[in-house]
Symmetry: C2
């Protein structure tokens, strides 16, 4: 009976999806050009794309520009000294009164190639997820590509997929002679994964060029149920490297053990003072000032599918944090996360020493009402409250002796505040109607858990931002073996076509 | 006035040192052969000597045998399958009623060459400690070698120095025609730094060969005041690798942060539950059962020089643990030390993930009355008491889901119990008198902080062990840039000569 209801629901979804002619046109095009689309994608993924690798990132910018130019989009590079360029593209529609900006980024997260099953910039196809023993397969020479196959490469999902989806969508619209109704602009950034340190300045320098009615942020994953989701905000972020100090150099753990303080143990104590056993942050005032959700937003959160049990199975989790709240609720709260910890060596590399230093990198996700400076102040106050003297630069012997509890806390540049666009705006309603008609009833979320630099767009341009993700949630984004499920690329092409034509 | 008293004391020490003719003979020999002694040492240090590197460790065994054979010592290798050999040597003294065994080890601690200023097995001389800007210098072609120079190489101090000191001492005794009064045996082990996993078996197989009145353990550093010390015991040791589990793979910290449990934070909580802020171990019963010190031992501890303030300056420490107790007192207690911690990546390598696992390696130093099994049981009980299910092997998805708090705890093989020889035994008194006469009044300690496998010698052979170290305390033993101060080699040659002749 339950299966029957679900099947009926899916039929309804499919029927509804066909209501959008742009999406249908894109599907027809895609079905006839699957191999070419994937080939163009893989070519783009074969380019190393770390924001800090200047020559590589410029090669990416040139390739991304070429992808747009091929579709008749006029492009230019928006530059500030010392930064990867923004690829800007424009497709003017005579008589249009509305301007849409499609944002994506072409740089990828830093990585350690040793952790990857195949080299991160040598894209490969697998006939299923790697953690379900997906095998390497070749692009078939004819016939459709199995939509459950995946493409593995850095930025396959985050965030080159939308660039290729937009390109294919433009092809599909053109082939069906569906003209856009809005002016279309494209902003493809080259240093999002480095924290977008120059985006504000580039926007500031190009306010006229970047004027629009809405920024559609093509980044992040769809819902874990695999349903399309439309997201109206993103959490902000601020990050810190914390280093604690023990003896001037590693000491023999026998000759000095239980006399010389151990910085690894000190770090354990400091970090554990920041959260309780259920994951609630215990830093004073950490949750103070959160801007509450509107009634529409609360309803959207309540209506979001509950996938927590499935996700727990998928991620091998026996419990979750957050006092029994659903994931989708918890994303509307700020978080504190330990990205990594290191002190001397472990396992086979360990030697019997008292380490000289211990380090952790933490990130704090922010929500509306709690800005980066406020959050940073609270964290620093907490560290001081644990008895630590805080320095921003590497301490010398004198400082280490003067301050037995000494923490070097380096704020990682590039943090930014959270943002949230009201779901009740007319443009929000238009986007939701369009997406519903292209992809069936979509999941509506007030915020995503991740961070994209929406705040500066709202602040400088006073434009609303709405996030229209296409990647599968299980894409290993920001980790090794990042991948995109082919079905998500196909669906993304249809969504993009509908939005481009709206 | 204080300086004057110290100077008088040093004069008295110097006068007393000359009372031992064997030490004086060794000094004369050394003064005439400094370059040859250092050259022989550096040749030995140029051989990679990890216990697990079978061919390399056998080359060391051959070289060490040759060093002894050159001095007329008859050698053989004591073997068990799959283990580095013990180099056994014997120098019989007709009519002697006492037999002394000199123990040292020729293998070195595992290392990461990247951490070393110069390659670990390319010994170099520096005109001072590296952390005081000691520069590389060549062995002078004539004249004495500055005794404040240091030799940098793996095992320079731990533990090839005593082997070379014994060799030079034997040369000095022979040159002055001073005949040993005891039968002399030498046991040079090849896997001490791997935890001596086969030493017990080798001793068991060679009980007659290894019979003696005392084992003189030539390992470890002299007192931090640079005075000679004689040590009557060693702490035992047991070690664990602990791994905690989060999600099946690294997750995006935004999309899953404050929902998916973070194993780095869990590890921080677990470790911090094991010690309080002053370094006192909070594992239940951790200190129960400690065998108390005798009156002689208590007096020795009380009389040991207080170097804590100097050490703190040397090690850049603003505080110490242990409730205000002196280092020398604290070494008579068991300790728990975090050797290293790791989870995902930190600093420039960090990415915004929730790590999948977090690991720590800990060591526990044991004292008389608390054996390895007892200590291990207490640690495991504590981990269970924190809500963890313990597994010994890598858990699968099912186990991870069934036990949300899951710890893989792998006991590192090769731990052993503490040992302590009474200072009141006649052989203890003889060793102390001999050392006093050779090196001035020596520091007497009931135990060293470090661990050497004395327990099995006492248990299997019923022979007392007394440790006669020669290395400088600031030798970076067990870490990178291990070194030996030349003065310590010179002093060690005199001490060894006196002991060999006693």
């Amino acid at each position: 009976m339950k299966t029957f209801v679900i099947a009926l629901g899916l039929l309804a979804v499919a029927a509804q999806a066909q209501q959008n002619p742009a999406a249908a046109a894109a599907r027809n095009w895609r079905e006839a050009h699957e191999r070419a689309i994937v080939a163009e994608f893989m070519e783009l993924l074969a380019m190393p794309n770390l924001a800090r690798d200047e020559s590589a990132i410029r090669r990416n910018a040139a390739a991304v520009s070429a992808v747009l130019e091929k579709r008749g989009v006029k492009t230019r590079l928006l530059e500030v000294p010392g930064a990867p360029p923004v690829v800007f593209g424009e497709l003017a529609t005579p008589g249009a009164t509305r301007t849409l900006i499609f944002y994506a980024h072409y740089d990828g997260q830093p990585l350690d190639p040793k952790e990857w099953a195949t080299p991160p910039w040598q894209p490969v196809l697998r006939n299923g997820p790697l953690d379900h023993n997906g095998d390497l397969v070749a692009l078939p020479s004819s016939g459709p590509i199995d939509p459950e196959w995946r493409i593995y490469a850095r930025s396959a999902s985050d965030d080159k997929a939308p660039i290729v989806a937009i390109a294919a969508a433009l092809d599909g619209l053109k082939a069906s002679r569906i003209a856009p109704r809005s002016n279309l602009k494209f902003v493809f950034e080259g240093e999002e994964e480095a924290g977008s340190p120059h985006l504000a300045q580039i926007i500031e320098n190009n306010k006229g060029l970047l004027a629009s009615d809405v920024w559609l942020i093509c980044d992040g994953p769809v819902h874990q149920s695999r349903r399309q989701q439309i997201v109206f905000g993103a959490r902000g972020i601020t990050e810190f490297d914390i280093t604690l100090y023990g003896p001037s150099h590693e000491l023999h753990s026998g000759h000095y053990g239980n006399w010389a303080p151990n910085p690894a143990m000190m770090l354990a104590r400091l970090l554990s003072s920041m959260k309780d056993d259920d994951g609630r942050v215990t830093i004073e005032h950490f949750y103070d000032g959160i801007e509450p959700l509107s009634e529409t937003e609360k309803r959207a959160v309540a209506e979001a599918p509950d996938v927590d049990r499935d996700l727990m199975r998928e991620l091998w989790l026996g419990r979750t944090e957050g006092g029994g709240k659903k994931l989708v609720e918890l994303l509307n709260l700020p978080s504190l996360n330990v990205r990594g910890m290191s002190s001397a060596r472990t396992g086979a590399q360990a030697s019997n020493v008292i380490p000289a230093t211990a380090a952790a990198t933490i990130d704090i996700r922010l929500v509306k009402g709690i800005g980066t400076e406020m959050a940073a102040r609270r964290v620093l106050e907490h560290i001081r409250g644990q008895g630590y003297f805080i320095t921003e630069s590497e301490p010398d012997a004198e400082m280490r002796m003067a301050h037995p509890r000494l923490a070097k806390v380096a704020a990682i540049p590039g943090g930014y505040n959270a943002s949230r666009t009201s779901m009740d705006l007319p443009i929000s309603q238009l986007v939701l109607r369009t997406a519903d008609s292209a992809r069936g009833p979509v999941v509506r979320l007030p915020t995503m858990g991740g961070s994209v630099p929406l705040y500066m767009i709202e602040e400088i341009l006073h434009a609303p931002t709405i996030t229209v993700p296409i990647a599968n949630h299980d894409n290993n984004q920001h980790s090794y073996n990042e991948n995109l499920r082919i079905r998500n690329l196909w669906d993304g092409i249809e969504l993009m076509a509908a939005l481009l034509a709206m």
